[in-house]
Point group: C2
Chain length 205, copies 2
C-alpha cells in the first residue's frame, strides 16, 4: 500500500461533499501555498505547505515554519511543486482537490498536467462535478449504468478502444479534444485500452 | 459590420458582470435549449431557441413555438447547433456565455470546439474569469499591463511567436497543453503570430 496524501490546490476551495470529505478525512494534506488561507478559514490543519511562499503572510509563515517547504523553481506551478514534494516524501497515492472552479486557464492547465504526474505517482483530481484520472496504460474503471464519461487524448495519435461505453471506440484516434466527450457507461465497469501516449478519463459523480 | 448574437450555453448561468451585461444588452440571444429555464428565471427573452428540444417542457414549447428551432443531429452538441443556426441566419459575430462553470468535461469540450467555430463565424467565449478567443490567423489583442494571458495550441506542431508578453515565444511549439499558460501582457496590446493550425487565447478580465 502506498502512502496517501491529499493536495489542496489554489483554485476554488471544495464545496462538493466528495472532495470536501476527502480533504477533511485526510491525515496528510499537502497545501499549495496560495490555498493556505482557505484551509485556515475552514479550520483544517495542513501536514505540509509547498510553494514559492509568495502568498504566505508573516504570521502564517511563523505558525507553520516547521512544515513549510520552499521551492523557488519558477518553471513549475504550485501544483507540480506539491506533486514533487509528495513523491520525494514517499506519498505515492495522491488525490488533488481545489484545482478547478476559478481561473479557466489554470483549470485546463492543471487537467493536462495530470498525465505527467501519473508517470511518477498514482493520482486523480476531484472537482465539484466529477473525477479526472490520468492513465498511462489500459485500465478498468468502476462505474455505474448511465455514468457520464469523457476521454481526453492529449496526443492525437493515440489509438483507443473502449468496452462497455455507449459510443464504442475501436482502435480510433481522438483527433480533436472534444471528440471523446459525452460518452456514457453501460454498467458497473468499463474499460479503456490504448496504445501510445497517456489519456485523461473524466467520470461524473 | 456583421450582425451580432449572444449564445447562452447550458453551463452555469452567468454571474460575473461582464458576461451578464453582454447577455442583458443583447437583442439577439440564441439560447441552447437546456438553458431556457435559466433564461426564463432571469426574466430575459430569447430571440431563438436551438437544440434537440429534449430539455424543453410542453409549456415553454408552446410559449416559444415560433422561435424554437429543432436540430435532431445527435452528432453535434447544443452549442455547435446554436453556432450553425447563427451562421445560417447571418449572425456572424458571436459571443458565447454560460458555457463553463458546471461539468468540467463540457467546459473543456466547449473551449476546444472554438477553433472549429472560428472557421465559420467571429466568436469569443466569456466566462466568470476571462475570455477565450480562437484565432485562425495572427492577431493583435487589446490588453493592459499585467493581464494574465494563456495560449492553448490544440495542434502541437503549430509554430508560435509572441510580442509584448512577459514570456516570449519565438517560433516555438507548445507540445503540452499547459506549456502556454500563465503568461502576462506587458502593455496595452500584445501580438500572437503563428504558422499552422488555430490557437485559443485566454485573457483574464
Amino acid at each position: 500500500m502506498h502512502k496517501k496524501a491529499v493536495i489542496l490546490a489554489n483554485g476554488a476551495f471544495p464545496t462538493h461533499e466528495i472532495p470536501l470529505q476527502e480533504l477533511k478525512n485526510s491525515k496528510h494534506i499537502v497545501c499549495c501555498d496560495g490555498a493556505i488561507n482557505k484551509l485556515e478559514k475552514a479550520k483544517i490543519e495542513p501536514y505540509a505547505i509547498v510553494g514559492d511562499l509568495d502568498s504566505l503572510d508573516a504570521e502564517l509563515k511563523l505558525k507553520y515554519h516547521d512544515i513549510v517547504h520552499h521551492f523557488a523553481n519558477q518553471d513549475t506551478n504550485d501544483l507540480t511543486k506539491a506533486i514533487h514534494w509528495c513523491k520525494k516524501n514517499s506519498f505515492l497515492d495522491i488525490t488533488i482537490v481545489g484545482a478547478t472552479g476559478e481561473r479557466d486557464d489554470h483549470m485546463i492547465g492543471n487537467v493536462f498536467l495530470l498525465p505527467r504526474y501519473a508517470k511518477i505517482v498514482k493520482v486523480k483530481m476531484l472537482t465539484s462535478y466529477g473525477v479526472f484520472t490520468p492513465i498511462i496504460r489500459s485500465k478498468n474503471f468502476e462505474s455505474y449504468t448511465g455514468q457520464q464519461v469523457s476521454i481526453f487524448s492529449p496526443n492525437s495519435d493515440t489509438l483507443i478502444s473502449t468496452a462497455n461505453l455507449r459510443y464504442a471506440l475501436t482502435n480510433q484516434k481522438l483527433e480533436q479534444m472534444w471528440q471523446g466527450t459525452l460518452n456514457e457507461s453501460m454498467g458497473d465497469s468499463f474499460r479503456i485500452e490504448f496504445e501510445g501516449d497517456s489519456l485523461i478519463i473524466y467520470q461524473e459523480y
